[in-house]
């Protein structure tokens, strides 16, 4: 079953990790205050261990009480973003809500990505020319109204 990608940005302009995370979250349906706190949460996870899941691909992710539905954002930076030791060109960012039922939904998303990034999927995402192409590799649907493919 395809997942719903909330937003895409195929021309990330930020030059560092924290700014890039914040830029991506601009596409999420959250208040400015929540966006700042979510940036802190995701950056904290990256400080503990950079979530580079393949050379050139980072996957910042967390669960948070600041969102009430899953937000998935796929993005690309042509020049690459220092993460901070390796440069990252593709970012797959997702945030899941904290639910009384537990982390099942979040775990399912991690499993989904692990599955589709294997066996050449990661290379296909890196070589994708558009967000829609990358999303198709990852079996995501993109909300067309939220799509930002400037420069692609």
């Amino acid at each position: 079953m395809k997942k719903q990608c909330s937003h895409s940005n195929w021309s990330v302009s930020s030059a560092d990790r924290r700014s890039a995370i914040n830029e991506l979250l601009a596409g999420a349906a959250v208040s400015d205050e929540a966006r700042e706190l979510l940036t802190i949460a995701l950056e904290t996870r990256e400080l503990a261990e950079p979530t580079i899941v393949h050379p050139g691909i980072a996957m910042p992710h967390c669960r948070s009480i600041l969102v009430d539905e899953i937000s998935i954002i796929i993005a690309r930076s042509e020049n690459g973003i220092p993460w901070p030791k390796e440069k990252v060109n593709v970012i797959i960012l997702f945030i899941s809500p904290v639910k009384p039922s537990g982390p099942q939904q979040h775990m399912e998303l991690i499993r989904h990505l692990a599955r589709y990034l294997r066996d050449g999927g990661a290379e296909a995402v890196l070589n994708a020319e558009t967000a829609a192409e990358a999303a198709a590799v990852l079996r995501f649907n993109i909300c067309e109204s939220e799509q930002n493919e400037q420069g692609s």
Partner: protein, 117 residues
């Protein structure tokens, strides 16, 4: 937003993150992706201690009590109700123009509450 409230929300999200990374199913999936959840947890625990010590002691102690009792100490207000115990909040609380400008608790369960909208 009140600084202590921001820190309490961040502490809660950090506790969730640590909890997820010690969950054996999530650990297995993170390892499949080439990540190292054990290393991440060790670092996150250090960060948690730092954040914890930066919070007003009164709120910190209450946070720890609530977490131990309910499993979650901070919850959003949804449809004018505490989303922890679903109690309808008093009008004076949700109608206040200074929502999130001070640390508020649910009058019924005592959890810290915040407005997400």
């Amino acid at each position: 937003m009140n600084r202590d409230l921001e820190r309490l929300i961040s502490l809660h999200d950090l506790d969730v993150m640590i909890g997820d990374l010690v969950n054996k199913d999530i650990r297995r999936q993170e390892k499949r992706l080439g990540l190292s959840p054990d290393d991440a947890v060790a670092e996150l625990r250090k960060m948690r201690d730092e954040l914890d010590s930066s919070i007003n002691r009164r709120f910190r102690d209450k946070y720890n009590q609530l977490s131990a009792h309910y499993g979650n100490a901070v919850v959003p207000v949804v449809h004018e109700r505490c989303s922890g115990c679903f109690t309808q909040l008093p009008t004076a609380l949700f109608a206040s123009p200074e929502r999130n400008e001070q640390v508020e608790t649910c009058p019924s369960c005592g959890r810290f509450i915040y407005w997400a909208d």
